[in-house]
């Protein structure tokens, strides 16, 4: 179980990005973390996976626990070894290396070659599209294929928790569907998933539980069905209009701002 409690993160000693974030991912769950640009979603991911250092960030308060032990002070490779794997925003495949070599880097923490082999088998079954392009440079794959490669690479370490940062970004709706199915599939095979998304409807449609972030903290959380039914969520994250289908005036937007503040 992943437990983020009251986390505060500061960049460059001055920029306070997370101000008391608390979330939880129970084993076997798919949890969605939603929020607009700049809400601190990616920072949360970095804090969990040990990548804050690279960006001059520090955890100043709170902690991250994984299965009962604290991990926010561990480095990235330790966290991957502990079973948390991630798919970074923008895919970040190693474009100069072949598909196979990309997958090999994902398996760097595997102890035995047999577990590496079985992980490789599983990825190939899950993404038949990659099968035929094993020797090609990753840079020549299409966007969708690259996203699959990135997910496959993350699965190579046999994670117990997979964190995906905006997997639907920049993909055609068809492909988004496909990715969605894959996530469900992965979850069914026994991996918990933390899905960080702007595409709330996609995320909430498969998640068990959801968190909504604004300016560095959670402003709303609950079962995804409950969130899906919430008026504000529908309005601001799902783009559904609730007030008679009329265009909002500027005044309403102000109203929205006030309401948002009240929410928190």
């Amino acid at each position: 179980m992943l437990e983020v409690a009251n986390l505060e993160v500061v960049y460059n000693d001055v920029v306070l990005v997370l101000r008391g974030l608390s979330i939880e991912v129970r084993d076997g769950q798919i949890v969605a973390l939603l929020g607009a640009n700049g809400a601190g979603k990616t920072t949360s991911l970095r804090a969990i996976t040990g990548l804050l250092d690279v960006h001059e960030g520090d955890v100043t308060k709170g902690h991250v626990n994984w299965n009962g032990s604290r991990i926010d002070d561990k480095d990235a490779s330790h966290i991957v070894r502990a079973g948390i794997s991630q798919v970074m925003e923008g895919r970040r495949v190693f474009a100069e290396m072949s598909v196979d070599d990309n997958l090999k880097t994902g398996a760097i923490t595997n102890k035995s070659s047999s577990s590496e082999k079985s992980a490789y088998q599983r990825v190939m079954e899950m993404f038949p599209a990659l099968q035929s392009r094993r020797k090609d440079s990753a840079g020549y794959l299409s966007g969708g294929e690259q996203q699959m490669l990135a997910i496959g690479r993350a699965l190579m370490s046999n994670p117990k928790l997979l964190i995906l940062d905006e997997p639907s970004l920049g993909l055609a709706p068809m492909l988004v569907q496909q990715i969605r199915d894959i996530i469900v599939d992965i979850n069914k095979q026994g991996t918990s998933v933390l899905l960080i998304e702007q595409n709330a409807s996609m995320a909430l449609s498969i998640a068990d539980y959801g968190y909504i972030m604004e300016t560095g903290k959670v402003v709303m959380n609950g079962e995804s069905s409950k969130l899906l039914g919430d008026e504000d969520v529908q309005e601001f994250y799902l783009g559904l209009r609730t007030e008679g289908g009329e265009r909002k005036s500027f005044k309403d937007v102000k109203h929205y701002k006030r309401r948002k503040r009240w929410l928190s």
Binding site: T49, G50, L51, V54, E56, D75, A76, S77, I79, V80, R81, S85, Q86, M88, R92, V93, F94, A95, E96, M97, D101, N102, K104, T105, G106, I108, T109, R153, A154, S157
Partner: protein, 326 residues
């Protein structure tokens, strides 16, 4: 004009011998530059550090050979039944390993805390490291030149008018072996991790690759290659006196090789090294008698070549182009 001079000299009686000697000598020098450039590029590619301490490390490697082979006789003193050549080779390998360790230590102490800091700030740090390494090794090993005591001595192969030193053949062979080992290494798990880190450090970290370990390995390999370059620039005929406090300056001569090949290209380092070595030796052999070029023209040929290459290809022959987007 220069071409005409070369042609004029190419039709003299000993032309073939002269050409052959220059070619052999140029290839041997090129191999040294290539090895030095390779170490430089590996360190740069993996850690984005311009290593000004490369020369100091190279000289350190050569001094270590002196220390192990001629002062301590290690490991030869326990293996006296082996032929001298083998004993010396073992000392040299030991020296290379110790130098690699030095590279790892440098990385750990002064480069690690600077990860992600401005490129030139880190370069300055390596300059400080260079001062320290050079001063302390020179203090310990003495100011005077120290012979490496290598088994080849002043031996020369004679093919008619073409004379090639044994050490030159060995230099080229060792360079080829080093390149072969590197090619193999890059296909291994750790090698793959290294390439991934060089390409995208953060993404590599996200895969669980321990970037620190990769950095350490890169510095280890880079320092080992520097040591090889230092050793073979301190043997007959070019470094006949052995290693001196000025052996370290050879690294500056290898800089144009790095740039010609492209700062981040492994194959570029090899090609660049060879080009620079050949260019220097051929310029010295064929343009030395041209009085209007003044003295020491051969010494800047590499730099002129580098500028010419950069005007045509701004990122070297094999260098990756920086993506320029708004």
């Amino acid at each position: 004009m220069i071409a005409a001079l070369v042609i004029a000299q190419a039709v003299t009686p000993n032309a073939i011998d002269k050409f052959g000697n220059a070619l052999a000598s140029g290839i041997a020098l090129g191999a040294i530059y290539a090895i030095l450039a390779l170490g430089f590029v590996i360190i740069f590619k993996a850690t984005q550090v311009v290593n000004f301490a490369h020369g100091g490390i190279a000289a350190f490697g050569a001094y270590m050979v002196v220390y192990f082979a001629t002062v301590l006789n290690v490991p030869g003193r326990w293996l006296s039944f082996l032929p001298f050549g083998v004993q010396w080779t073992l000392s040299a390998i030991l020296a290379i390993l110790v130098t690699a360790l030095l590279g790892v230590i440098i990385e750990r102490i002064v480069i690690r805390p600077m990860i992600g800091k401005a490129l030139f700030a880190v370069a300055m740090i390596t300059l400080g490291v260079d001062l320290i390494i050079r001063t302390i090794t020179v203090d310990y090993m003495g100011n005077q030149s120290r012979g490496l005591g290598d088994p080849w001595g002043a031996g020369v192969f004679v093919f008619g008018g073409i004379r090639i030193a044994h050490t030159q053949v060995v230099t080229v062979l060792v360079a080829m072996i080093a390149v072969g080992l590197l090619a193999w290494f890059f296909r291994t798990r750790t090698g793959t991790a290294m390439r991934a880190t060089a390409f995208d450090q953060e993404a590599a970290m996200a895969q669980g690759i321990s970037v620190g370990k990769v950095f350490a390995i890169a510095w280890g390999i880079g320092a080992a290659l520097a040591a090889i370059g230092g050793i073979f620039s301190s043997v007959f005929p070019r470094g006949a006196a052995g290693v001196t406090p000025f052996t370290a300056l050879i690294a500056f001569r290898a800089f144009p090789a790095v740039i010609i090949g492209g700062l981040d290209s492994i194959s570029g380092a090899i090609v660049g090294g060879m080009l620079v070595g050949l260019a220097e030796v051929f310029a010295a052999s064929y343009l030395g008698s041209v009085s209007w070029l003044g003295t020491g023209f051969a010494g800047i040929v590499a730099w002129l070549l580098m500028m010419a290459v950069l005007l045509i290809k701004p990122y070297g022959i094999f260098g990756t182009e920086e993506v320029r987007r708004v």
